[in-house]
Amino acid sequence: MNRTVRWYIGAGLALSVVMAGIVGWYASSAPDGLERVAADHGLGRDGDLAAASPLAGYEVAGMAEGPLSAGLAGLTGVVATGLLAFTVFRWLARRRGAEPPAAR
């Protein structure tokens, strides 16, 4: 990975951290398209969202609802997504390397 690619990856990750950690709290909290249609047309049954996870609904359980709780939840998601995605894709790239080498 050369320097400009590394810079580019770093800038993209920094932007993602700002989006999930800060901007997310200020995004629209209106129901999304599916939730709107479901509410208008009586789809589905009410689920118990709160019981599912300490981070359910992008809030940290036990913390006051607000930018800090939402930001922490968002950052946790960024880290978790990054760990899983970078691991899976690096593993797949290595698996390719195990095959007969492609001409470069």
Binding site: M1, G12, L43, L55, A85, R96
Partner: protein, 231 residues
């Protein structure tokens, strides 16, 4: 767009989980052709970016919002199979950690938001960039259209699933009209974010945009990136 638990009967949810799992096995095999030491970190970044962007709901009309699905963006940047995997990673994390999308609906959500979006957006993008003049503005426009088309397509697939085993009393036609109508509006946002992001990468490192890499002039490729013999 995330289906929670309780929206679909058990048989439909289970069948969708099996289809999604089978599709992911194929994607894991095929993505190896798209990934190397240079593109693997890009694919990781795309997953993180899609997760973060999905948190940013934008308003579409009164009392409704939409968010990026990201299949179009991921496919254009890192390739269709890798794109499916990137969005699937996001959906898995969202269901596990945030209860955003039910665990029983994970298969349905992966089909709708990873496979359908990529299956629509990738051909739309590739047909357009091959047919149109090779220029950043046309590629950015193609990214808009690919992103736009992917969202109502995803909503239409939801309706197909609703017809098969959805919990609700309204007719399939009513649900189809409501879903596709609402998500055509959300598709405009998807198209804009997709075009903006692809345009930004094109201006910095066009060789990192998988969907146009074969269309770049040779000297650019030779100067900045080793070219692999495979697609």
């Amino acid at each position: 767009m995330h289906i929670p638990d309780g929206f679909f009967d058990a048989a439909t949810s289970a069948a969708a989980a099996a289809v999604a799992a089978g599709g992911l096995v194929i994607a894991l095999r095929q993505a190896r052709q798209e990934l190397d030491d240079r593109t693997a970190p890009m694919a990781g970044l795309v997953a993180v970016f899609v997760f973060a962007a999905q948190m940013l709901n934008f308003p579409v009309g009164a009392g409704t919002s939409g968010h990026l699905l990201g299949g179009a963006l991921a496919a254009i940047l890192v390739g269709p199979w890798t794109g499916v995997l990137a969005v699937s990673v996001v959906l898995l994390i969202q269901a596990l950690l945030f209860a955003d999308g039910g665990m029983t609906a994970l298969g349905l959500n992966i089909i709708n938001m990873a496979f359908v979006t990529v299956a629509v957006a990738w051909p739309v993008f590739r047909i357009l960039v091959r047919a149109l003049p090779r220029a950043r503005t046309t590629w950015t426009s193609a990214a808009f259209l690919a992103g736009f088309a992917s969202v109502p397509a995803s909503a239409a697939m939801f309706t197909v699933e609703y017809a098969l085993g959805g919990v609700g009393t309204f007719s399939v036609g009513t649900v189809l009209a409501a879903m596709v109508g609402t998500h055509a509006l959300i598709g405009i946002g998807e198209g804009l974010i997709t075009a903006l992001t692809v345009g930004a990468v094109l201006s910095v490192r066009p060789d990192l945009v998988r969907g146009v890499r074969d269309l770049l002039p040779r000297p650019v490729l030779a100067a900045v990136a080793p070219v692999t013999s495979r697609g």
